[in-house]
Amino acid sequence: MDRIPILKMGNLLLVSIQVDLQDQLALALQDDLSERIVQTGARGVLIDISALEIVDSFIGRMLSTIASLSRLLDAETVVVGMRPAVAITLVELGLHMPGVRTALTLEHGLALLGAEVRVRLPEDESFDDLDADLTEAADPGASPGQAVSGRAPTGRPAPAEGAWTG
């Protein structure tokens, strides 16, 4: 049977549903995702449904189940890219998706997760290195008060969490 690919990106898992979902495929995705969350220790799951022309009660339930499962496994799920017509139809259908967070675009979804789970590569110092480089570059000795403006107290670039605190 076909599988929907799950991509690992730092400590996030990314799923883009590009096919007309058969029920078994949706169920397989639930199983695969929970396995991958445990396997990778992912803290966030992004599910892109921008290619889905409809979300019926079965697919809606799948998204809800994934959100609940991933929360139990210490990961947050964000569904991104829902089409407006799909949203209108879901409301009329009467489908509630408890626990499912949504964002308009993949970028917004990343920001939403980034604000909560800190997108970082696991056991990889590259982010710290990057921060160190930035700090050096931005702080050549002169006017340190100005150089650190716009930064979090840690010296890390301020996270873009203002509009996405949930």
Binding site: L21, E53, I54, D56, S57, R61, T89, E92, L93, G94
Partner: protein, 149 residues
Amino acid sequence: MSAARWAGGPAGGEVTVEQTERHPITTEADVVRVRQVVRGLAVTAKMSLVDQTKVVTAASELARNTLVYGGGGSMTVDIVHSGRRRGLRAVFVDSGPGIPDLDLALTDGWTSGSGLGLGLSGSRRLVDDFAIESSPGAGTTVRVVKWSR
């Protein structure tokens, strides 16, 4: 099947039918095909994108009911005309165990299986005309019509 509850056109006018197609619903792949067929006809009937999405979603729910609860069956779908308006009519037929209590089955959240209980009640809200006939042992027939605006 009687046409007793076929209410006619949006203004009660005469309805003409064209482009009738019949599709079996015996596998999950058939449910996907039903969605694609209904999408194609909804485009032909010049429905808005939102109405296309609604009628395809309703068809998906009803096709799944036909497969899961009715043990398989078929969908007959056609383009209907009433005056200047066009619409899409889909009839889902199975010869499964039937539904003992239709009022209960049309209640939000009630399910005889493992579903969410939105298949019938939800799809009724997504279409303009909804008729169901069922009795225990005699299968179930659901007929829906969506008119383009």
